[in-house]
């Protein structure tokens, strides 16, 4: 891994690159925050299945990581995000979103509390400037530590079992949305019970120099329990099943949208539960108070679609063929044996059980089959097995 600047190497390599490069037969790389991440290692279906059957390993090093240090660390994050974080405890993780002054969502992420003077935010987009600007007036330092921490997501029903076999002490008692320091294969790592898969799973944070050792350990019991490295395509499948939305895929980040009318507020995204209008002033509060009183004109919902042809990029209509929205993500779910999607619908079709129609263009041997499919509006969280929440976790 040589990440020094050179025009011949535009993309960075993660500390796992030596291994991911070997595993990625397809040599099919996705650009994530300037890093090379495998889109597909060998076979997306198998990688997906590993995450639902045994466990999959995802290189999530490119996640942006910002250290928030100082006496006002908690107060700062509370001003930044829509949720009340003042009660956060050491070892706890919270899912957070943050908005601009207009109340439009910039990004989502997680905040880890090491202690009341040290928090760390993980997120998909770059936010150094936004955080630094918000930090003015608080006794905090915001530092981008993205490049100093290597990270893997280890997701799937056997993830705890395998960590236990690797002698990660007491891992089964780690509660969802908590983290702690552990010893893994002789390396000091931080493990959180978090992830994108909507299943039992962990995220493992380690020093760059320990990366290879950590990676190798997760495959140690492969003769008994087949663990696979999983690429971005497989991740996309599990995150849609889990109901997790993604900036610049399901909504445009308010910091990046070129067209002002493409920005979305938390209520439109079905994230109203993350907005605490009773807490102290936070960025966007004034407008969110007003928005809360207004009727929503559009909302991102889950869709259960007739047939088995994914509704990727489909336009949504009402029964009178009036255009009412668009699909942002769609897939055939192997776990649910259902045709699922996220889509925006208008105010008359937001209720669970509402019927809308998707116009699906399905390519079939150089011709498009045009399908008019009825869709039921459902909760976005399609997949949510009990094992995900169980404490102690299954070992």
């Amino acid at each position: 891994m040589d990440n020094s600047f050179s025009f011949t190497k535009p993309l960075l390599e993660t500390p796992f690159h030596e291994r991911t490069y070997e595993a990625c037969y397809n040599n099919d790389w996705y650009r994530w925050a300037g890093y090379k991440i495998a889109r597909e290692y060998s076979n997306t279906e198998l990688e997906y299945t590993a995450m639902r059957n045994t466990a999959g390993v995802l290189d999530i090093t490119p996640m942006h990581k910002y250290d928030i240090k100082g006496a006002d660390a908690i107060r700062f994050v509370d001003k930044l995000v829509t949720r009340n974080v003042t009660e956060i405890k050491s070892g706890q993780v919270m899912y957070i979103i943050w908005c601009n002054e207009d109340g439009n969502v910039i990004d989502d992420g997680t905040v880890f509390c090491f202690d009341s003077n040290h928090l760390r935010i993980f997120c998909a987009e770059r936010n150094l400037n936004w955080f630094s600007d918000t930090a003015i007036g608080f006794d905090v330092e915001v530092e981008d530590v993205s490049d100093t921490i290597a990270a893997l997501a280890f997701q799937g029903p056997l993830s705890c079992k395998i960590l236990n076999l690797l002698n990660v002490k007491n891992i089964e008692n780690l509660k969802p949305f908590y983290f702690d320091d552990f010893d893994l294969n002789g390396c000091k790592v931080t493990i959180s019970r978090t992830g994108f898969s909507g299943d039992l799973g962990y995220e493992i944070w380690c020093k760059n120099e320990d990366a290879i050792s950590v990676w190798d350990s997760l495959f140690k019991f492969n003769r008994d329990y087949k663990v696979l490295p999983a690429g971005m395509n497989a991740l996309e499948m599990v995150r849609v099943e889990a109901g997790f939305i993604q900036p610049n895929a399901d909504f445009m980040s308010a910091e990046q949208a070129l067209r002002p009318n493409r920005m979305r507020n938390p209520f439109e995204l079905g994230m109203g539960w993350l907005v605490d209008l009773n807490k102290n002033y936070f960025t966007g509060k004034k407008n969110l108070v007003d928005l809360k009183k207004k009727t929503l004109t559009k909302k991102l919902v889950g869709l259960d679609i007739q047939g088995d042809k994914p509704a990727i990029g489909s336009v949504l209509y009402d029964k009178n063929k009036k255009e009412i929205g668009i699909v942002t993500a769609g897939m055939w779910s192997p776990s649910l044996k259902s045709n699922i999607a996220f889509g925006y619908v208008d105010k008359d079709h937001m209720k669970i059980g509402s019927k809308v129609f998707a116009e699906i263009y399905h390519p079939e041997e150089l011709e498009y089959k045009k399908i008019w499919a009825e869709c039921s509006v459902v909760k976005k969280q399609f997949f949510n097995p009990p094992r995900r929440h169980k404490v102690p976790a299954e070992i």
Binding site: L11, N129, P260, N261
Partner: protein
């Protein structure tokens, strides 16, 4: 000369004059372009001034040329090809260089070497500028509506304008915030604008360059931010803000236009300087050439800048006094110089490694906005800048037709150079001294530059004026400041390509939307003429 009477004669064969002519000829009119030189092109020319080398000796890169015009005039069929180039760089005194790359991730890392915050801010800057470009793009194609008029056409036009400024997101237009931003952007200084995004001097200086090129404004001058936008609103194949080379030099653009014109039955009357526009009863009906010949046409269009048109070829007695005075007061100050250099080898830069794509695009010598403002101070004092802002490129790296194998052509644009030197005016010695000064500046950033110079053409604003006919050598045919833009360009009340003289129109860069090898003024003027003739304007441009 055949005693033909034309439907329309265009005075001046620059890219706008040719564009107007092409559209009119395509509409079935009998059209002639009357050009002073033996070749057409105005400031978009390719000239072999040194054997074996082709110089784009005025304009040198292409981005603004509207693709609709390219398509309408079938310029590809007539040989025009635009080659996008990658990257740009500023060379620094400390031996480093700051570069932009077309690869998004490489670009981020490049900026992050100077400031991580600026690398992130560049995304936001890019988005905000892009938003402004999207607002301005449809305006380029519009004839500016007259805000004082109640004619249906003007009212419709103003509504169209308002559409883009209306606080209604549904229209794809702007929110309140964006309207504030637009008004600020169009009026503020580029220094203040960049200050809102960036912390690094180097980043700011690199970006500010676009705001001073061709402009008699400094980076601290209000209105300079708009000039940056003017340079960003072009595109190469949908990549907004991208620049490219015209294969075979900038003259390929006008050569293709001339061929398109001829194919549509238009005439080019070259080597024929126009000395006077014939006017009778406040109507123009022809021109007088230097040799005394007369050419008659129902309508005349001037591609010359507004000053040259109304102070040189139209007699004062034909003009209303207030109009004449407004023309006299039109700001068209020369501020740029140009060197065209034939090189025996590729320059080796002290900072940029060989093969780095940053070295194949536009290269600058600039350290900070303060240095650029200092360069502007020199201009105000009537001297060429001691530390000029230099915008160099080596088209022959990407374009195999510009120089013999292994040799190179370098275009060097220099900001600032005054039209009048306080110290006794321009002389041949001063011109050469100016050239030497610029070359020694470039030489100090290169290992071999001084040893590989084979030939150099040195042009001050005087040469630009003399050869191209641009008053004071102003490359935009008039400053791009708010008081001279949109419905104020070139003269309030005369922004719709018409003049106080009946049947006399304007189509040059003095008119909306202004300078650059864009073609929009020429196409807009053609549309107005065709409307007056109750003829169809067939174009992808609408």
């Amino acid at each position: 000369m055949p005693k033909t009477k034309y439907d329309v004669a265009i005075v001046g064969g620059g890219h706008n004059g040719l564009t107007t002519a092409c559209y009119l000829a395509k509409a079935g009119l009998k059209v002639a372009v009357i050009e002073r030189h033996s070749y057409v092109g105005g400031a978009a020319v390719s000239r072999e001034l040194h054997p074996g080398w082709t110089y784009s000796n005025c304009s040198y890169v292409c981005s603004l040329l509207r693709p609709e015009i390219f398509r309408d005039l079938e310029l590809s069929k007539y040989g025009l090809q635009i080659i996008p180039y990658e990257g740009s760089a500023s060379m620094l005194d400390d031996g480093r260089f700051y570069a932009h790359y077309s690869d998004h991730d490489l670009n981020y890392r490049s900026i992050a070497q100077f400031s991580k915050k600026d690398a992130e801010a560049y995304e936001r800057f890019g988005k905000d500028v892009m938003r402004q470009c999207k607002i301005i793009k449809p305006l380029l194609k519009m004839t500016p509506p007259d805000p004082t008029s109640f004619r249906p056409k003007d009212i419709m036009g103003l509504l169209e304008f308002a559409k883009y400024f209306a606080a209604k997101d549904e229209l794809g237009g702007l929110g309140e915030k964006e309207i504030y931003d637009t008004i600020r952007f169009w009026t503020m200084s580029v220094r203040d604008y960049l200050e809102e995004y960036f912390e690094s001097d180097v980043v700011k200086a690199h970006l500010a360059g676009s705001a001073i090129i061709g402009t008699a404004l400094g980076p601290y001058s209000p209105g300079s931010a708009y000039v940056l936008l003017h340079h960003y609103m072009g595109e190469v194949d949908g990549t907004v803000g991208a620049w490219g080379y015209s294969r075979g030099g900038m003259g390929s653009i006008t050569k293709a236009m001339a061929a398109s014109l001829k194919a549509n039955g238009g005439d080019i009357i070259a080597g024929s300087p126009v000395t006077k526009i014939l006017i009778k009863n406040n109507r123009s009906h022809g021109v007088v050439l230097e040799n005394g010949d007369e050419i008659f046409a129902d309508k005349l269009v001037s591609n010359l800048d507004v000053k040259r048109t109304f102070l040189k070829v139209v007699e004062k007695k034909e003009l209303p006094d207030d109009f004449y005075n407004a023309v006299k007061n039109f700001k068209i100050r020369g501020s740029s110089g140009k060197l065209n250099i034939a090189l025996d080898d590729l320059p080796i830069w002290k900072s940029i490694p060989e093969g780095d794509p940053a070295g194949t695009g536009d290269l600058h010598i600039t350290q900070s906005i303060e240095e650029m403002e200092g360069a502007y101070d020199d201009w105000k004092d009537g001297r060429w800048s001691k530390f000029p802002y230099v915008d160099m490129c080596i088209p022959s790296i990407n374009d195999p037709t510009m120089a013999p194998q292994g040799k190179h052509y370098m275009s060097v644009f220099v900001q600032y150079v005054p039209y009048n030197l306080t110290d006794g005016g321009w002389t041949e010695e001063k011109r050469l001294e100016f050239g030497k000064h610029v070359m020694s500046r470039i030489g100090s950033y290169s290992e071999n530059f001084n040893d590989i110079i084979n030939h150099a053409e040195i042009r001050t604003p005087k040469e630009l004026e003399k050869e191209v006919g641009l008053t004071e050598g102003n490359i935009f045919q008039g400053e791009l400041t708010m008081d001279q833009l949109m419905f104020n360009r070139p003269i309030p009340g005369y922004a719709q390509y018409k003049t106080p003289i009946k049947n006399l129109y304007m189509c040059g860069s003095s008119t909306h939307p202004g300078g650059g090898v864009m073609g929009a003024p020429g196409a807009n003027a053609a549309r107005e003429i065709l409307i007056d003739l109750k003829k169809q304007f067939n174009s992808h441009y609408i």
